[in-house]
């Protein structure tokens, strides 16, 4: 029933804090800023906020080539092994691609799972599987099951009520939505490239015709009219909207969201280190956001990973240098700031790529084996888990399903992956219906 589907949006501690604010019918409308801040101060005095972890997912849409990145097979026949050589990392015995030198230098801060796999070689269905943990039965371009970020948003909320819980950068993932959890758990996205000069979050900045004073006047007017409005107190039906207006107008009025999204505050040197491209700057922005209180950031790591043709040239000239730099800098930066255990960085795509090279020097879709990268989050780093056969075709030890990959993340966040939601048909659906955390990592 409606009631079952819609109850229990867990917004965590912030909810009780917000309910302390006795506001007019439109939330912030009738509320002066100082009052807001007083409310927050009161909440802070009530107890120290629970330390909570965040996740940054680097989503390699299209399917990254595991055998050219993290699982090289230098002894395989030429039609499998490809052009790239493995190089040593700073962890003895672990080798990765020569085109990931920056990551190789911080291998002690990374963990590679080489034996993830599933059975669907379609982009849509593979993506749905990897992003939700559920094997879809039909190909649709929308979420049937809630994405991992939506689940985290629903279970944990944001650490700061002035910020969204779940953000997609630079734009929304194709299958990153909330499905039956409800639109409130869809990602918030700037739909804009943080590497561009004019980067800004849609509708977070005041419209050109409106200055802060005018917005303040409008909010006061709204508060006045709300207060005297005919008694259109619709109580239960509208509570959620009040909360929402409050959150949204906080984002506008209370500076913190704008500050968090303002990547220009980062030193130029650091921005250079991340790489002046959409992926690099998205990783940097993601770090700013999780520091400010966002719980889950998913980054669409460009397109182009679907390397059916000219795989090697694409990887070494275009994809890997940017990716190596962005992820290695992100992980190092988090360490430098002492946040490595609070933030879990993950990187994967919907499947690996065919170990056998096709006639166009490309590799095709291959869900039989894929690599997953984890960094930080309190997991055990500096290791490789699982292995594939001598051609990188399928796991020879420790095969891990998408559910295992995702449950490891839920475990790191303290979320019970057996927690049950109900879809519109009232079917009880646990967060994951299969898989358990990867023991070597936890």
């Amino acid at each position: 029933m409606l009631e079952i589907c819609c109850t229990g949006g867990s917004v965590g501690k912030s909810f009780s804090r917000r309910t302390l604010l006795r506001v007019g019918a439109l939330g912030v409308g009738g509320l002066a800023l100082p009052e807001l801040l007083r409310g927050e101060a009161r909440a802070a005095a009530e107890g120290t906020p629970r330390p909570r972890k965040s996740v940054i997912l680097v989503w390699l849409a299209g399917g990254p080539s595991h055998i050219d990145m993290y699982d090289l097979k230098p002894t395989a026949p030429a039609e499998f092994r490809g052009e790239f050589q493995p190089i040593a990392t700073n962890v003895p015995g672990i080798q990765i691609s020569e085109h990931l030198p920056l990551q190789a230098a911080i291998m002690d801060k990374l963990a590679i799972v080489r034996s993830a796999c599933h059975t669907n070689a379609g982009h849509g269905m593979g993506s749905q599987w990897m992003l939700t943990g559920y094997q879809p039965t039909i190909e649709v371009n929308d979420n049937i099951y809630p994405s991992l970020g939506s689940v985290v948003s629903r279970m944990l909320g944001a650490r700061d009520a002035a910020l969204p819980a779940y953000v997609n950068l630079p734009r929304s993932l194709d299958l990153g939505k909330a499905a039956y959890l409800g639109a409130s758990y869809n990602p918030f996205s700037p739909e804009n490239d943080p590497n561009s000069d004019g980067f800004q979050v849609r509708n977070l900045k005041l419209p050109s015709r409106v200055d802060l004073a005018r917005l303040q006047r409008r909010r006061d007017l709204l508060g006045t009219l709300d207060a005297i409005r005919r008694d259109i107190d619709l109580r239960g039906d509208l509570d959620g909207l009040d909360t929402f207006y409050r959150d949204a107008l906080r984002m506008v009025t209370n500076d913190r969201a704008i500050q968090a999204f303002d990547i220009k505050q980062e030193p130029d040197a650091l921005r250079d280190r991340y790489g002046r491209n959409d992926l690099g700057q998205s990783c940097l922005l993601a770090r700013r956001l999780v520091e400010a209180g966002v719980t889950f950031v998913a980054i669409q790591a460009g397109g182009g990973w679907d390397t059916h043709g000219d795989n090697f040239k694409q990887l070494k000239d275009n994809l890997l240098p940017k990716y190596d730099r962005a992820v290695a800098t992100l992980v190092q930066d988090l360490c430098d700031r002492g946040r490595q255990d609070d933030v879990l960085v993950m990187s994967f795509g919907e499947f690996g790529r065919t170990p056998r090279i096709n006639p166009g020097a490309g590799r095709d879709h291959w869900p039989g084996a894929m690599s997953v990268l984890y960094a930080g989050g309190g997991l055990r780093m500096g290791q490789v888990v699982g292995s594939t056969n001598d051609k990188g075709e399928y796991p020879t030890s420790r095969p891990f399903s998408p559910g295992c990959v995702l449950s490891t993340m839920y475990h790191a966040l303290g979320i019970d992956h057996r927690h049950v939601f109900h879809d519109q048909a009232h079917r009880p659906l646990p967060i994951l219906n299969e898989g358990r955390p990867i023991e070597e990592l936890i």
């Binding site: 639109a183 758990y185 007017l221 009219l225 005297i228 619709l234 509208l238 048909a425």
Partner: protein, 741 residues
């Protein structure tokens, strides 16, 4: 929980082993059999279907999370919820080379060692080795795992006692579930049935059939399932003392009598009738998908006539906005889309629906035009319904037909027996059988469709291995000659006056559209285990619809003309918790397209969508493919399912930011052609301008206090135009605007 039920469990648990023989054979009292009879506990052979199979359900072995799921668990797969006894028998006794059972030493059977946790078992230790259940399994293996006896009685029905009960808010109740067997005998299976509630805030149930009211008033349906049969207990927790009368409630038609008797029983006092402005805004939104204009609002408010509400209903139903809006609503669940790349067919189908609605075509003929569509798209635009689903046509059409036109969610039965209902795979493939001879030509976008003489599908019914054969849901197999189009016979069957689905789902859908929630919710999920909150009212609406030859406008007039529809949304003490019985109007947010157009209407602006006429509003768009940040942000359906649930009502941050803080909206508010610009250009006095803005937003005049405050604000500002824009922003961002209340 078990300690609490210790006493109650004894009888039924003992029964699982022992009651059968004395009853079935001798008709003796089951109580005479008892586990204490010890050394010779089972006086007859254990039967797989009667004794063993129910245990697989009772211990959750065949649930969807374990061995019942489509992929099984660890190589061991059972039929979901035990609907397929033969399959389960094979799984236990035959598969895995028989290693799951070991008759020479039953205790060493994998089945028992796994179930008791003697060897590692993902599901843990489920069965106590000391239990009766263990003995049953042990005995069955010892007997050499005989298959189910073909002559042993089968469960043909279950019943629950009581069937319904009014419960106090903290009351508890033990249900009693009886199975009825094919030989007419009955058994208490309370301890072996599975239970589920549909509303756990009202009443919960545990796995022993113990019901507890949870403090919230309302009505919960508790499903009791045993061996594929289902019975429903209805727990009614009244909102207050039952009422003998409902002072102040104005009865406008027979709907109100049926609602009132329900409210009296539940102790629900309805809210008062809504005022004229609220009614006009509500009925205009619900019938036409737009706000009343300022002129309409003025006229209506100033009209002294008593019957003005029914007059406005008729006027709106006869206006072109009614078919425009309902074409959009139908187009959404009929998946009228350009996903399949045929824009022209999407336009044609949209216009076809609009025309059908405008002419108030009898509903059965409307459905026939879709379900039995054939020909070229120019002549039969409804073939776009098939074309949009062409990738998986047989299955999508089967499940959409069931859901959209019969209110039955049959798609689960494609792979397994419906978990809550009697629908089986045979029913699913029987309905699919009506669509197996649909041919399409190899040219055209979309291509012409025709009824072929022979099956055109390669799909087979997994039960028979053959092409699905047509069988009416709940009924007989049908035979057709090659020149027949079986789809017409299906529509004939739907349109029979006593069809229990066809008319009920339509009136329920309309009720949900106008009242914000179906009598059965979701509106297209009619089943015994999801009962209507007012079954008499649903039945009466359906009967009335049939009696009026499927006249849709007649149903609409009846619903919106009722006192129930015209209640205020403001709750009173008694109905604040009511979410099922419509004792107040349930306010809801405007849907994406309506919200979009309402914003334009209030601002006095117009959005121009590319590729369609300049006058087209969002509700006029024939498919989902017109780019609009506003519509996407407000969750416009992608038209990928036949379900009303595709729309979400949850608010998002992006929505609020768009409304309150965007150049897009600001440009409308301040548009040189907009309402405020015109008010300023016409040099209208502030008080008049304020009144017009209120009428445009809310279809009402401001109260004195609102008028004073708004006027004072405008006059306090140097820039009058900006001040009026601020007022417009305020109205646009108010809840009263965003909601249909």
């Amino acid at each position: 929980m078990n300690s609490r039920f210790g006493g109650r469990l004894v009888g039924p648990v003992a029964g699982v082993v022992l009651w059968w023989l004395p009853l079935a054979v001798a008709g003796a009292e089951p109580a005479t059999a008892n586990a204490d009879q010890g050394t010779e506990p089972i006086a007859r052979d254990v039967d797989f279907a009667v004794d063993v199979a129910p245990l697989l359900s009772r211990y959750g072995c065949n649930s969807g999370g374990c061995h019942g799921k489509a992929s099984g668990q660890n190589g061991f797969k059972l039929s979901l919820f035990g609907f397929d006894t033969q399959f389960d028998y094979d799984a236990l006794a035959r598969q895995a080379r028989g290693r799951r059972v070991f008759p020479a030493a039953p205790d060493h059977s994998l089945l028992l060692r796994k179930a008791t946790g003697a060897v590692p078992h993902g599901g843990g230790a489920r069965v106590d080795p000391q239990s009766e259940a263990y003995q049953v399994l042990h005995r069955w293996i010892e007997q050499g795992c005989p298959p189910a006896s073909p002559t042993a009685p089968r469960v043909v029905a279950v019943s629950v006692t009581p069937r319904s009960q009014v419960l106090a808010r903290d009351a508890t109740l033990q249900l009693r579930v009886e199975a009825v067997y094919s030989d007419g005998s009955r058994r208490d299976v309370t301890a072996h049935a599975q239970y589920a509630t549909n509303l756990d805030v009202v009443a919960t149930v545990d796995d022993a059939g113990w019901v507890e009211a949870r403090g919230q008033s309302g009505e919960a349906a508790v499903m009791c399932r045993y061996m594929g049969q289902v019975a429903v207990f209805r727990a009614i927790v009244p909102h207050g003392q039952s009422l003998s009368e409902l002072p102040g409630f104005e009865r406008r038609n027979w709907i109100d009598e049926l609602a009132a008797s329900r409210w009296k029983q539940l102790g629900l006092a309805p809210s008062p009738a809504c005022d004229d402005a609220t009614f006009l805004r509500r009925v205009t939104i619900d019938l036409c998908g737009r706000l009343p204009t300022v002129d309409e609002a003025r006229q209506f408010l100033d009209d002294p006539a008593n019957e003005k509400r029914s007059r406005v209903i008729d006027r709106l139903l006869d206006s072109p906005d009614y078919p425009a809006y309902f074409a959009m609503r139908w187009g959404t669940i009929l998946r009228n889309s350009r996903l399949a790349g045929a824009d022209q067919a999407a336009y044609a189908f949209h216009n076809w629906i609009k025309d059908q609605v405008a002419r108030n075509r009898p509903y059965d003929e409307f459905v026939r035009g879709i379900v039995a569509a054939a020909g070229e798209w120019q002549d039969a635009p409804a073939i776009n319904w098939y074309w949009q689903m062409r990738d998986d046509q047989l299955h999508q059409v089967t499940s959409d037909t069931a859901q959209v036109f019969l209110g039955v969610r049959l798609q689960c039965a494609r792979c397994h027996h419906h978990p809550y209902e009697r629908w089986s795979q045979e029913d699913y493939y029987g309905l699919a059988g009506f669509f197996t001879r649909l041919g399409r030509k190899s040219f055209g976008q979309p291509p012409p469709y025709y009824a072929a003489a022979n099956p055109t599908t390669g799909e087979t019914n997994p039960l028979t291995g053959k092409v699905p054969e047509p069988k009416f849901p709940d009924g007989e197999y049908a035979r057709f000659s090659p020149e027949d189009d079986p789809r017409h016979a299906l529509v004939d069957w739907m349109a029979q006056p006593d069809n229990p689905y066809f008319s009920r789902v339509l009136v329920n859908r309309l009720w949900g559209h106008f009242l914000g929630r179906g009598l059965v919710q979701e509106v297209d999920d009619l089943r015994e285990t999801n009962p209507a909150s007012n079954p008499e009212l649903l039945d009466a609406l359906a009967r009335d619809f049939v009696a009026h030859q499927f006249d849709v406008k007649h149903v609409i007039r009846t619903i919106v003309g009722s006192g129930v529809y015209q209640l205020s949304s403001e709750p009173n003490e008694s109905n604040l918790d009511d979410r099922q019985n419509f004792a107040r109007f349930y306010a809801r947010r405007l849907i994406a397209e309506v919200f979009h157009d309402a914003t334009d209407q209030l601002c006095g602006t117009r959005t121009r969508f590319s590729g369609v006429s300049d006058s087209a509003r969002a509700v006029d768009l024939p498919h989902e493919g017109f780019g609009s940040y506003f519509l996407d942000t407000f969750d416009r359906p992608r038209r990928v399912t036949g379900c009303e649930c595709e729309r979400s009502s949850g608010a998002t941050l992006a929505q609020v930011l768009l409304l309150a803080n965007s150049d897009e909206i600001e440009n409308k508010i301040a548009s040189g052609e907009g309402r405020v610009a015109r008010l300023v250009a016409d040099q209208r006095p502030v008080a008049e301008a304020v009144e017009e803005l209120y009428l445009a937003a809310y279809a009402r005049r401001p109260t004195d206090a609102e008028r004073q405050a708004a006027t004072a604000y405008v006059q306090s500002q140097d820039n009058q135009r900006q001040a009026l824009e601020d007022l417009l922003w305020t109205l646009l961002n108010s809840k009263e605007f965003a909601f249909n209340h």
